[in-house]
Amino acid sequence: MTVIPEATLSVLPRADGSARYAHAGYTVTASVNGPIEAQRRDEHAFEAHVDVVVRPAAGTGGTRERHLESIIESSLTQLILVKNFPRQLIQIVLQIETTPDNDYVNTKLVQASLNFPIVPSLLQAAVLALISAAVPMRATATASVVAVVSQEGTKRLVVDPSPRDLEQAQSVHVLAFTSHDELLLAESEGDFTVKEWDGVYEAALKICCRPTSTKAGIDVMLDDSEDAAGSDMRQFLRSTVEAKVAADLYWK
Protein backbone atom coordinates (compact mmCIF):
# COMPACT_ATOMS: atom_id res chain seq x y z
CA MET A 1 0.00 0.00 0.00
CA THR A 2 1.81 3.07 -1.17
CA VAL A 3 0.00 6.33 -1.21
CA ILE A 4 1.60 9.17 -3.06
CA PRO A 5 2.51 11.95 -0.68
CA GLU A 6 0.81 15.28 -1.07
CA ALA A 7 2.05 18.62 0.10
CA THR A 8 1.08 22.27 -0.06
CA LEU A 9 3.45 25.02 0.91
CA SER A 10 2.71 28.34 2.58
CA VAL A 11 -0.79 27.42 3.69
CA LEU A 12 -0.81 29.75 6.68
CA PRO A 13 -0.70 33.42 5.69
CA ARG A 14 0.44 34.72 9.08
CA ALA A 15 3.38 32.43 9.66
CA ASP A 16 6.80 33.02 8.12
CA GLY A 17 6.56 29.64 6.50
CA SER A 18 4.19 26.72 6.57
CA ALA A 19 3.37 23.47 4.87
CA ARG A 20 0.74 20.81 4.96
CA TYR A 21 1.93 17.30 4.28
CA ALA A 22 -0.19 14.20 3.86
CA HIS A 23 1.16 10.72 3.43
CA ALA A 24 0.10 7.20 4.33
CA GLY A 25 -2.91 8.35 6.28
CA TYR A 26 -1.15 11.05 8.27
CA THR A 27 -1.72 14.73 7.73
CA VAL A 28 0.54 17.23 9.43
CA THR A 29 0.50 21.00 9.19
CA ALA A 30 3.73 22.72 10.08
CA SER A 31 4.38 26.36 10.73
CA VAL A 32 7.76 27.98 11.06
CA ASN A 33 8.52 31.34 12.60
CA GLY A 34 11.97 32.65 12.81
CA PRO A 35 14.52 33.83 13.34
CA ILE A 36 12.80 35.64 16.19
CA GLU A 37 13.90 36.86 19.57
CA ALA A 38 14.50 34.01 21.97
CA GLN A 39 13.52 34.03 25.59
CA ARG A 40 16.43 34.58 27.86
CA ARG A 41 16.52 31.00 29.11
CA ASP A 42 16.51 29.59 25.55
CA GLU A 43 19.21 31.89 24.29
CA HIS A 44 22.32 30.27 23.00
CA ALA A 45 25.34 32.48 22.53
CA PHE A 46 26.54 30.90 19.32
CA GLU A 47 23.59 29.39 17.56
CA ALA A 48 19.87 29.59 17.08
CA HIS A 49 17.62 27.64 19.38
CA VAL A 50 15.34 25.34 17.41
CA ASP A 51 12.09 24.86 19.25
CA VAL A 52 9.77 22.12 18.03
CA VAL A 53 6.24 21.74 19.31
CA VAL A 54 4.23 18.67 18.38
CA ARG A 55 0.49 18.85 18.91
CA PRO A 56 -1.46 15.63 18.69
CA ALA A 57 -4.64 15.27 16.67
CA ALA A 58 -6.71 15.00 19.83
CA GLY A 59 -6.00 15.96 23.39
CA THR A 60 -2.96 17.70 24.71
CA GLY A 61 0.57 16.56 24.21
CA GLY A 62 2.13 14.19 26.70
CA THR A 63 5.42 12.45 27.20
CA ARG A 64 5.23 10.88 23.78
CA GLU A 65 5.00 14.25 22.09
CA ARG A 66 7.96 15.48 24.11
CA HIS A 67 9.98 12.58 22.79
CA LEU A 68 8.88 13.18 19.20
CA GLU A 69 9.84 16.82 19.63
CA SER A 70 13.30 15.91 20.81
CA ILE A 71 13.80 13.58 17.84
CA ILE A 72 12.64 16.16 15.30
CA GLU A 73 14.55 18.95 16.97
CA SER A 74 17.86 17.11 16.99
CA SER A 75 17.41 16.32 13.31
CA LEU A 76 16.40 19.81 12.24
CA THR A 77 19.26 21.39 14.17
CA GLN A 78 21.52 19.46 11.85
CA LEU A 79 19.80 20.83 8.77
CA ILE A 80 19.31 24.47 9.74
CA LEU A 81 22.36 26.71 9.64
CA VAL A 82 21.87 27.51 13.29
CA LYS A 83 25.13 29.38 13.57
CA ASN A 84 23.79 32.08 11.26
CA PHE A 85 21.41 33.25 13.95
CA PRO A 86 23.03 33.30 17.35
CA ARG A 87 20.76 34.13 20.30
CA GLN A 88 17.69 33.75 18.13
CA LEU A 89 14.84 31.29 18.08
CA ILE A 90 13.39 29.31 15.23
CA GLN A 91 10.06 27.92 16.26
CA ILE A 92 8.41 25.04 14.48
CA VAL A 93 4.91 23.94 15.39
CA LEU A 94 3.70 20.62 14.03
CA GLN A 95 0.00 20.03 14.29
CA ILE A 96 -1.06 16.48 13.57
CA GLU A 97 -4.41 16.61 11.84
CA THR A 98 -5.28 13.07 10.91
CA THR A 99 -3.84 9.69 11.66
CA PRO A 100 -4.86 6.41 10.08
CA ASP A 101 -7.68 5.04 12.15
CA ASN A 102 -7.30 1.76 13.82
CA ASP A 103 -10.90 0.78 13.76
CA TYR A 104 -10.79 -2.49 15.54
CA VAL A 105 -9.30 -1.44 18.82
CA ASN A 106 -10.66 1.03 21.30
CA THR A 107 -7.96 3.58 21.21
CA LYS A 108 -6.85 5.41 24.27
CA LEU A 109 -6.53 9.12 23.88
CA VAL A 110 -3.19 9.46 25.57
CA GLN A 111 -0.66 6.92 24.45
CA ALA A 112 2.65 6.79 26.17
CA SER A 113 4.46 4.58 23.73
CA LEU A 114 6.43 5.73 20.76
CA ASN A 115 4.71 6.36 17.51
CA PHE A 116 7.32 5.71 14.88
CA PRO A 117 5.22 5.83 11.72
CA ILE A 118 4.40 9.47 12.22
CA VAL A 119 8.01 10.61 12.43
CA PRO A 120 8.58 10.81 8.65
CA SER A 121 5.43 12.90 8.19
CA LEU A 122 6.47 15.25 10.96
CA LEU A 123 9.98 15.60 9.62
CA GLN A 124 8.86 16.07 6.05
CA ALA A 125 6.30 18.68 7.00
CA ALA A 126 8.89 20.53 9.06
CA VAL A 127 11.46 20.50 6.25
CA LEU A 128 8.90 21.81 3.76
CA ALA A 129 7.81 24.55 6.14
CA LEU A 130 11.43 25.57 6.72
CA ILE A 131 11.93 25.82 2.98
CA SER A 132 8.76 27.87 2.74
CA ALA A 133 10.09 30.18 5.46
CA ALA A 134 13.39 30.50 3.59
CA VAL A 135 15.31 29.57 6.71
CA PRO A 136 18.90 28.96 5.59
CA MET A 137 19.65 25.27 5.62
CA ARG A 138 22.64 23.06 5.07
CA ALA A 139 20.64 20.44 3.24
CA THR A 140 17.16 19.04 2.97
CA ALA A 141 16.07 15.68 4.26
CA THR A 142 13.77 12.85 3.35
CA ALA A 143 12.46 10.16 5.64
CA SER A 144 10.69 6.88 5.44
CA VAL A 145 9.31 4.18 7.68
CA VAL A 146 9.81 0.49 6.99
CA ALA A 147 8.38 -2.45 8.90
CA VAL A 148 9.55 -6.04 8.88
CA VAL A 149 6.52 -8.27 8.78
CA SER A 150 6.79 -11.98 9.18
CA GLN A 151 4.31 -13.96 7.16
CA GLU A 152 4.23 -17.74 6.98
CA GLY A 153 7.83 -18.00 7.96
CA THR A 154 9.16 -15.50 5.48
CA LYS A 155 9.96 -11.94 6.32
CA ARG A 156 9.10 -9.13 4.04
CA LEU A 157 9.60 -5.41 4.18
CA VAL A 158 6.60 -3.15 4.19
CA VAL A 159 7.14 0.49 3.31
CA ASP A 160 4.70 2.91 4.93
CA PRO A 161 3.03 0.17 6.94
CA SER A 162 -0.65 0.44 7.73
CA PRO A 163 -1.78 0.19 11.35
CA ARG A 164 -2.73 -3.40 10.59
CA ASP A 165 0.78 -4.14 9.35
CA LEU A 166 2.22 -2.55 12.44
CA GLU A 167 0.20 -4.85 14.66
CA GLN A 168 1.92 -7.77 13.05
CA ALA A 169 5.31 -6.24 12.49
CA GLN A 170 8.35 -7.76 14.10
CA SER A 171 10.23 -4.52 13.93
CA VAL A 172 9.60 -0.98 12.77
CA HIS A 173 12.29 1.34 11.50
CA VAL A 174 12.37 5.03 10.74
CA LEU A 175 15.27 6.30 8.69
CA ALA A 176 15.94 9.80 7.45
CA PHE A 177 18.63 10.89 5.07
CA THR A 178 19.96 14.31 4.19
CA SER A 179 20.11 15.35 0.57
CA HIS A 180 23.80 14.41 0.68
CA ASP A 181 22.87 10.79 1.33
CA GLU A 182 23.96 10.90 4.96
CA LEU A 183 22.02 9.00 7.55
CA LEU A 184 20.40 11.68 9.66
CA LEU A 185 18.08 9.70 11.87
CA ALA A 186 17.69 6.01 12.59
CA GLU A 187 15.10 4.81 15.05
CA SER A 188 14.15 1.17 15.29
CA GLU A 189 12.22 -0.95 17.67
CA GLY A 190 11.15 -4.55 17.78
CA ASP A 191 13.28 -7.60 17.34
CA PHE A 192 15.79 -7.82 14.52
CA THR A 193 19.35 -8.59 13.56
CA VAL A 194 22.10 -6.54 12.00
CA LYS A 195 21.41 -8.28 8.71
CA GLU A 196 17.75 -7.39 8.77
CA TRP A 197 18.60 -3.81 9.59
CA ASP A 198 20.87 -3.76 6.56
CA GLY A 199 17.99 -4.81 4.37
CA VAL A 200 15.81 -2.11 5.86
CA TYR A 201 18.54 0.44 5.28
CA GLU A 202 18.74 -0.53 1.61
CA ALA A 203 15.00 -0.20 1.18
CA ALA A 204 14.85 3.17 2.91
CA LEU A 205 17.83 4.45 0.96
CA LYS A 206 16.06 3.58 -2.26
CA ILE A 207 13.00 5.57 -1.27
CA CYS A 208 14.76 8.55 0.22
CA CYS A 209 17.83 8.93 -1.94
CA ARG A 210 16.98 7.94 -5.45
CA PRO A 211 19.57 9.72 -7.52
CA THR A 212 18.42 12.61 -9.63
CA SER A 213 20.72 14.69 -11.69
CA THR A 214 20.35 18.41 -11.79
CA LYS A 215 22.72 19.03 -14.64
CA ALA A 216 22.07 22.33 -16.33
CA GLY A 217 18.80 22.80 -14.56
CA ILE A 218 17.02 19.89 -16.11
CA ASP A 219 16.05 17.24 -13.64
CA VAL A 220 16.52 13.88 -15.18
CA MET A 221 15.13 11.13 -13.07
CA LEU A 222 17.14 8.00 -13.49
CA ASP A 223 14.47 5.52 -14.26
CA ASP A 224 14.65 2.54 -12.00
CA SER A 225 12.17 0.32 -13.68
CA GLU A 226 13.09 -2.63 -11.51
CA ASP A 227 11.39 -1.19 -8.48
CA ALA A 228 8.72 1.11 -9.66
CA ALA A 229 6.96 0.51 -6.38
CA GLY A 230 7.75 2.77 -3.50
CA SER A 231 7.70 6.50 -3.77
CA ASP A 232 10.69 8.64 -4.51
CA MET A 233 10.75 11.10 -1.67
CA ARG A 234 13.58 13.22 -2.96
CA GLN A 235 11.96 13.76 -6.32
CA PHE A 236 8.71 14.56 -4.57
CA LEU A 237 10.37 17.16 -2.37
CA ARG A 238 12.09 18.76 -5.31
CA SER A 239 9.03 19.00 -7.52
CA THR A 240 6.90 20.36 -4.68
CA VAL A 241 9.39 23.05 -3.85
CA GLU A 242 10.05 23.95 -7.46
CA ALA A 243 6.36 24.45 -8.05
CA LYS A 244 6.24 26.79 -5.07
CA VAL A 245 9.31 28.74 -6.13
CA ALA A 246 8.04 29.08 -9.67
CA ALA A 247 4.72 30.40 -8.37
CA ASP A 248 6.52 32.88 -6.12
CA LEU A 249 8.58 34.17 -8.99
CA TYR A 250 5.64 34.61 -11.31
CA TRP A 251 6.81 38.12 -12.11
CA LYS A 252 10.15 37.08 -13.53
Partner: protein, 247 residues
Protein backbone atom coordinates in the same frame (compact mmCIF):
# COMPACT_ATOMS: atom_id res chain seq x y z
CA UNK B 1 7.17 36.88 -19.24
CA UNK B 2 10.75 35.90 -18.99
CA UNK B 3 11.55 32.80 -20.91
CA UNK B 4 14.92 33.91 -22.20
CA UNK B 5 16.94 31.24 -20.46
CA UNK B 6 16.33 27.99 -18.73
CA UNK B 7 15.43 28.70 -15.14
CA UNK B 8 17.53 26.96 -12.59
CA UNK B 9 15.71 26.06 -9.42
CA UNK B 10 17.82 24.76 -6.59
CA UNK B 11 17.18 23.42 -3.12
CA UNK B 12 19.28 23.99 -0.02
CA UNK B 13 22.44 21.96 -0.17
CA UNK B 14 22.25 21.22 -3.89
CA UNK B 15 25.53 21.08 -5.71
CA UNK B 16 25.99 23.88 -8.21
CA UNK B 17 27.89 22.81 -11.24
CA UNK B 18 31.31 24.31 -11.56
CA UNK B 19 30.76 25.79 -15.06
CA UNK B 20 27.80 27.79 -13.78
CA UNK B 21 29.90 29.76 -11.35
CA UNK B 22 31.16 32.85 -13.15
CA UNK B 23 34.89 33.08 -13.42
CA UNK B 24 35.94 36.65 -13.86
CA UNK B 25 39.57 37.39 -14.09
CA UNK B 26 39.78 40.63 -12.18
CA UNK B 27 36.67 41.13 -10.09
CA UNK B 28 36.12 38.94 -7.09
CA UNK B 29 33.05 36.73 -7.13
CA UNK B 30 30.12 38.38 -5.38
CA UNK B 31 27.60 36.18 -3.63
CA UNK B 32 24.13 37.48 -2.97
CA UNK B 33 21.63 36.28 -0.42
CA UNK B 34 20.85 32.60 -0.14
CA UNK B 35 24.27 31.35 -1.11
CA UNK B 36 27.26 30.40 0.94
CA UNK B 37 30.79 29.51 0.15
CA UNK B 38 32.32 26.38 1.56
CA UNK B 39 36.08 26.34 1.21
CA UNK B 40 37.78 25.64 -1.03
CA UNK B 41 35.48 26.22 -3.97
CA UNK B 42 31.97 24.98 -3.43
CA UNK B 43 29.08 27.43 -3.69
CA UNK B 44 25.99 26.02 -2.01
CA UNK B 45 22.48 27.43 -1.86
CA UNK B 46 20.94 27.68 1.59
CA UNK B 47 17.38 28.42 0.53
CA UNK B 48 15.11 27.11 -2.19
CA UNK B 49 14.75 29.41 -5.12
CA UNK B 50 15.99 30.37 -8.51
CA UNK B 51 19.70 30.68 -9.01
CA UNK B 52 20.56 33.84 -10.90
CA UNK B 53 24.01 34.29 -12.36
CA UNK B 54 25.23 37.63 -13.65
CA UNK B 55 28.49 36.96 -15.48
CA UNK B 56 29.11 40.62 -16.32
CA UNK B 57 29.16 41.66 -12.69
CA UNK B 58 30.71 38.36 -11.68
CA UNK B 59 27.96 37.83 -9.16
CA UNK B 60 25.33 35.28 -8.36
CA UNK B 61 22.39 35.23 -5.99
CA UNK B 62 19.22 33.40 -5.12
CA UNK B 63 15.85 34.76 -6.07
CA UNK B 64 13.16 33.69 -3.62
CA UNK B 65 10.21 35.05 -1.75
CA UNK B 66 9.11 34.69 1.78
CA UNK B 67 10.58 34.24 5.15
CA UNK B 68 11.30 36.76 7.79
CA UNK B 69 13.34 39.88 7.29
CA UNK B 70 16.92 39.54 8.40
CA UNK B 71 18.74 42.88 8.44
CA UNK B 72 21.45 43.32 5.87
CA UNK B 73 23.76 46.27 5.45
CA UNK B 74 22.52 49.20 3.32
CA UNK B 75 18.93 47.97 3.26
CA UNK B 76 16.30 50.68 3.45
CA UNK B 77 13.79 49.72 6.10
CA UNK B 78 10.73 51.09 7.81
CA UNK B 79 10.98 50.71 11.54
CA UNK B 80 8.62 51.40 14.38
CA UNK B 81 9.99 53.06 17.48
CA UNK B 82 9.47 50.81 20.48
CA UNK B 83 11.01 52.95 23.15
CA UNK B 84 13.67 55.48 23.63
CA UNK B 85 16.81 54.82 25.60
CA UNK B 86 19.36 57.36 26.79
CA UNK B 87 21.14 58.01 23.50
CA UNK B 88 19.16 55.94 21.06
CA UNK B 89 15.81 54.67 19.95
CA UNK B 90 14.98 50.99 19.91
CA UNK B 91 13.28 50.28 16.63
CA UNK B 92 11.31 47.25 15.59
CA UNK B 93 11.84 45.97 12.05
CA UNK B 94 9.72 42.81 12.14
CA UNK B 95 7.40 41.34 14.71
CA UNK B 96 9.00 39.35 17.53
CA UNK B 97 12.56 40.09 16.50
CA UNK B 98 15.24 41.78 18.49
CA UNK B 99 14.95 45.51 18.03
CA UNK B 100 17.45 47.52 16.05
CA UNK B 101 19.12 50.59 17.48
CA UNK B 102 18.85 54.05 15.99
CA UNK B 103 21.13 56.65 17.60
CA UNK B 104 19.25 59.84 18.39
CA UNK B 105 21.94 61.86 16.66
CA UNK B 106 21.74 59.89 13.43
CA UNK B 107 19.28 62.36 11.88
CA UNK B 108 19.95 65.22 9.53
CA UNK B 109 21.30 68.17 11.42
CA UNK B 110 20.64 66.61 14.79
CA UNK B 111 22.52 67.90 17.78
CA UNK B 112 21.97 67.31 21.46
CA UNK B 113 19.48 70.17 21.44
CA UNK B 114 17.78 69.68 18.10
CA UNK B 115 17.41 65.94 17.92
CA UNK B 116 13.95 64.78 16.89
CA UNK B 117 11.61 63.59 19.58
CA UNK B 118 10.03 60.36 18.46
CA UNK B 119 7.14 58.92 20.45
CA UNK B 120 6.53 55.25 20.92
CA UNK B 121 4.97 53.81 17.77
CA UNK B 122 6.40 56.44 15.43
CA UNK B 123 7.59 55.25 12.05
CA UNK B 124 11.04 55.98 10.68
CA UNK B 125 12.55 55.38 7.29
CA UNK B 126 16.13 54.36 7.85
CA UNK B 127 19.13 52.62 6.40
CA UNK B 128 20.82 49.63 8.03
CA UNK B 129 24.42 50.62 8.79
CA UNK B 130 25.48 47.62 10.71
CA UNK B 131 24.12 44.12 10.44
CA UNK B 132 26.04 41.50 12.28
CA UNK B 133 24.76 38.17 13.39
CA UNK B 134 26.14 38.64 16.87
CA UNK B 135 24.80 42.14 17.42
CA UNK B 136 21.54 43.97 17.08
CA UNK B 137 21.25 45.85 13.82
CA UNK B 138 22.09 49.56 13.79
CA UNK B 139 20.17 52.11 11.74
CA UNK B 140 20.73 55.68 10.60
CA UNK B 141 18.50 58.34 9.09
CA UNK B 142 21.26 60.41 7.62
CA UNK B 143 23.93 59.68 5.09
CA UNK B 144 27.27 59.60 6.81
CA UNK B 145 28.99 60.80 3.64
CA UNK B 146 26.87 63.83 2.84
CA UNK B 147 25.26 64.63 6.17
CA UNK B 148 21.92 64.90 4.35
CA UNK B 149 18.77 62.96 5.07
CA UNK B 150 18.35 61.80 1.45
CA UNK B 151 14.73 60.97 2.02
CA UNK B 152 15.29 59.21 5.32
CA UNK B 153 13.80 60.27 8.62
CA UNK B 154 10.58 60.14 10.58
CA UNK B 155 7.46 59.29 8.63
CA UNK B 156 4.60 61.45 9.81
CA UNK B 157 0.99 60.87 8.99
CA UNK B 158 0.09 58.16 6.55
CA UNK B 159 0.02 54.50 7.26
CA UNK B 160 2.28 51.49 6.89
CA UNK B 161 1.16 48.32 5.13
CA UNK B 162 2.74 44.89 5.34
CA UNK B 163 3.69 43.24 2.09
CA UNK B 164 5.78 40.20 1.28
CA UNK B 165 9.54 40.58 1.20
CA UNK B 166 9.50 39.70 -2.47
CA UNK B 167 7.16 42.56 -3.37
CA UNK B 168 9.15 45.01 -1.26
CA UNK B 169 12.28 44.01 -3.14
CA UNK B 170 10.55 44.45 -6.47
CA UNK B 171 9.20 47.86 -5.51
CA UNK B 172 12.71 48.94 -4.58
CA UNK B 173 14.17 47.93 -7.93
CA UNK B 174 15.41 50.85 -9.99
CA UNK B 175 13.13 49.90 -12.85
CA UNK B 176 10.44 48.16 -10.90
CA UNK B 177 8.15 47.92 -13.91
CA UNK B 178 10.53 46.22 -16.30
CA UNK B 179 12.56 44.18 -13.87
CA UNK B 180 10.11 43.60 -11.08
CA UNK B 181 6.86 43.49 -12.98
CA UNK B 182 5.11 45.83 -10.60
CA UNK B 183 3.54 49.00 -11.90
CA UNK B 184 0.67 49.49 -9.51
CA UNK B 185 2.03 52.63 -7.84
CA UNK B 186 2.75 54.37 -11.15
CA UNK B 187 -0.70 53.45 -12.39
CA UNK B 188 -2.34 54.87 -9.30
CA UNK B 189 -0.38 58.07 -9.73
CA UNK B 190 -1.42 58.26 -13.35
CA UNK B 191 -5.03 58.10 -12.22
CA UNK B 192 -4.49 61.42 -10.54
CA UNK B 193 -4.18 60.29 -6.94
CA UNK B 194 -1.81 62.38 -4.87
CA UNK B 195 0.24 60.27 -2.46
CA UNK B 196 3.80 59.49 -1.50
CA UNK B 197 5.33 56.16 -0.53
CA UNK B 198 8.34 54.79 1.22
CA UNK B 199 9.23 51.15 0.71
CA UNK B 200 11.10 49.24 3.39
CA UNK B 201 13.04 46.15 2.47
CA UNK B 202 11.61 44.57 5.63
CA UNK B 203 8.24 44.16 3.95
CA UNK B 204 6.61 47.43 4.93
CA UNK B 205 5.29 50.11 2.63
CA UNK B 206 4.38 53.48 4.03
CA UNK B 207 1.76 55.49 2.20
CA UNK B 208 1.20 59.15 2.93
CA UNK B 209 -1.47 61.43 1.55
CA UNK B 210 -3.79 64.23 2.60
CA UNK B 211 -6.77 62.08 1.84
CA UNK B 212 -7.25 59.02 4.05
CA UNK B 213 -9.29 57.45 1.25
CA UNK B 214 -6.28 57.53 -1.01
CA UNK B 215 -4.06 55.97 1.61
CA UNK B 216 -6.42 53.06 2.10
CA UNK B 217 -6.86 52.63 -1.63
CA UNK B 218 -3.12 52.52 -2.30
CA UNK B 219 -2.64 50.07 0.54
CA UNK B 220 -5.39 47.83 -0.75
CA UNK B 221 -3.97 47.91 -4.25
CA UNK B 222 -0.58 46.84 -2.94
CA UNK B 223 -2.01 44.06 -0.81
CA UNK B 224 -4.11 42.69 -3.60
CA UNK B 225 -1.22 42.82 -6.02
CA UNK B 226 0.87 40.90 -3.52
CA UNK B 227 -1.62 38.29 -2.41
CA UNK B 228 -3.23 37.79 -5.80
CA UNK B 229 0.14 37.59 -7.56
CA UNK B 230 -1.06 39.98 -10.23
CA UNK B 231 0.93 40.63 -13.35
CA UNK B 232 1.14 44.08 -14.94
CA UNK B 233 -2.02 43.62 -16.98
CA UNK B 234 -4.01 42.49 -13.95
CA UNK B 235 -2.60 45.39 -11.94
CA UNK B 236 -4.04 47.76 -14.56
CA UNK B 237 -7.46 46.20 -14.19
CA UNK B 238 -7.21 46.31 -10.42
CA UNK B 239 -6.29 50.00 -10.38
CA UNK B 240 -9.16 50.83 -12.75
CA UNK B 241 -11.61 48.93 -10.58
CA UNK B 242 -10.41 50.46 -7.32
CA UNK B 243 -10.44 53.99 -8.66
CA UNK B 244 -13.93 53.48 -10.09
CA UNK B 245 -15.17 52.14 -6.75
CA UNK B 246 -13.78 55.14 -4.92
CA UNK B 247 -15.39 57.75 -7.11
Amino acid sequence: MATETERLYVLPGDAIDEPLVPRHKKQPLRLGPGLRHIPPSAIVPTVAGQLVVEPRKNSMWMEYNGGRYVPAQNDLVIGQVQRSAAELYLVNLAAHTASATLPQLAFEGATKKTRPQLAQGALVYARVVLANRHMDAELECVSAATGKAEGLGPLTGGMAFDVSLGLARRLLMARSRDEGGVEVLELLGAEGLAFETAVGRNGRVWVGSDSPKTIVLVGRALRETDEGRLDVEQQRKLVKRLVREMR
